[in-house]
Amino acid sequence: MAYQRVAIVGAGITKFVRRAQETGKELAFQAAKMALDSCGLTMKDIECVSLGTAPDAFDGVHMKGEYLADGSGGWRKPYMRHFVGGGTGVFAPIHGWFHVASGMFDTCLVVCSEKMSSCHPHPQGAFKTIFDHTTEQPLNPTLIWIFALEMNRYMQTYGITKEEIALVSVKNKKNAMDHPSAQLPMEITVEDVLNSEVLAWPVNRLDISPASDGAAAIVLASEHVAKRITDKPVWIDGVGWNLDTAYWATRDLAYPRYVEKAARMAYEMAGIKEPQKEIEIAEPYDPFDYKELHHMEGLLLADRGKAVEMLLDGKTQRDGDRPMCPSGGALGVGNPIAATGLMKVIEIFLQLRGEAGKRQVPGNPRCGLAQAWGDLMQVGTVVVLRR
């Protein structure tokens, strides 16, 4: 395919918090400014802007793309919002990639901002209408139903226990202790997870990520421009995305085939033949602890039902063979939906540049991956990054 090679050259993330005093557009501004400053650019250098943000109902602002435009640097620029629910944050670099890879632009500022705390009494309420209004809403569903049913099916299919899955939460919340943006860094035990309140069996409170406010941003540049901006560009070598049926109840809940299809698309583009060997570090989307394992399998980073063995063997620890969510993930850093996915992309960017500070994994990895998941639990978004 004939397209420009695209690099990430700068990045910024706000703190992820329970409730920010800043508006969503002020959060967007903070992240965008940090990203520009990190690579010494100004808005004069930015040719177009891509914004990612999740449901309008969180902020209670209809047409949130327009609302967030000023904080995102959209003033008098080619500006476009994209949205695939929870998958938005990793769709963000893909959306920005289109702009630059196409040859239309040489630089693109990609911003993701989310303010979930505006929504009262809780953002859960905003999820009501993602369920079918005729066949599901009368049963008063909550989002946790879906996860509880999927986690049950995943455990049942492969004989995985709650104790084993809880180790993901323990690992990620501990990793987050070294992340300056983290909302929920903590040292906990498997017992703490199992003893936390049951929301919908098998899901306990400490199995899940929090609602958060926060923003993240990256700067993309074409190859010839990137090399003038930085001597450490990180290349977007593969992009993939895929959508399964909206009839979530009917999907294979033990295995996310749509994630596999997204991953295969990105691997083919990046020339990756053996993902378990070639992807050295990854940030699979972890809004719930079992999802890290579930997604590792969909991403072909573990055989089906075997991700838990890598976890138990310590391979997915930050100092293990195949670090997963070294940032602390959604479970530890927090989950301001669209910003979470981009935070994961930024973690791989920093790790590949050797700039992750206390979170730096050993072994000088050259190739990593970030993934997010969303819409009605049906979309997989994947980017493969290389230095």
Binding site: R19, H122, T134, E136, P138, L199, W201
Partner: protein, 157 residues
């Protein structure tokens, strides 16, 4: 801390309260209208099938999502099925505790390629097994209004 933690904290921050003042009227759509009429009036479960894709849809739909073929005929399936996955729900949408935990399941519907999400009735949470056979429990005909709640839930077959 958790996804459902209440947010009414940090009230020292300056804030406004607001709403989007609308509500909605949803139609059943062509496929579901036929399904719920049959359920209400005859206690039947209407499905439709795409022969090209070999997929049977329940409730009946008017198009196949895989090939966008039109689905023009419907037929009844038994309404029985098997538990594919289940959960025991302890909290309401507003996070208040439920008086009794509610068992909710995905049911693989016999003779179709679809699942229903619905309550399990007549079974204790500890007795539910993935794979167990279940049958629908319908409200009495006079109480059926043409909605998903015409099905009380699914009970062990």
């Amino acid at each position: 801390m958790g996804l459902t933690e209440r947010t009414n904290r940090n009230v020292d921050l300056t804030y406004w309260e607001g709403e989007i003042p609308v509500n909605y009227v949803y139609t059943y759509g062509l496929g579901l209208e036929a399904f719920f009429r049959a359920l209400k009036e005859q206690g039947k479960f209407l499905a439709s099938r795409c022969e090209d894709c070999g997929v049977t849809y329940l409730p009946a739909r008017v198009f196949c999502e895989r090939c966008l073929g039109k689905l023009e005929t419907t037929f009844a399936v038994p309404g029985t099925g098997k538990v594919y996955a289940y959960t025991v729900v302890h909290r309401n949408v507003d996070e208040s505790p439920k008086e009794e935990p509610v068992v909710l399941a995905l049911v693989d519907m016999d003779g179709t390629d679809c699942r229903f999400v619905h309550y399990l009735t007549g079974v204790e949470p500890g007795e539910v097994k993935v794979g167990m056979a279940v049958k629908p429990v319908l409200k009495a005909k006079k109480d059926r209004k043409g909605g998903i709640e015409d099905i009380v839930g699914f009970a062990p077959a």
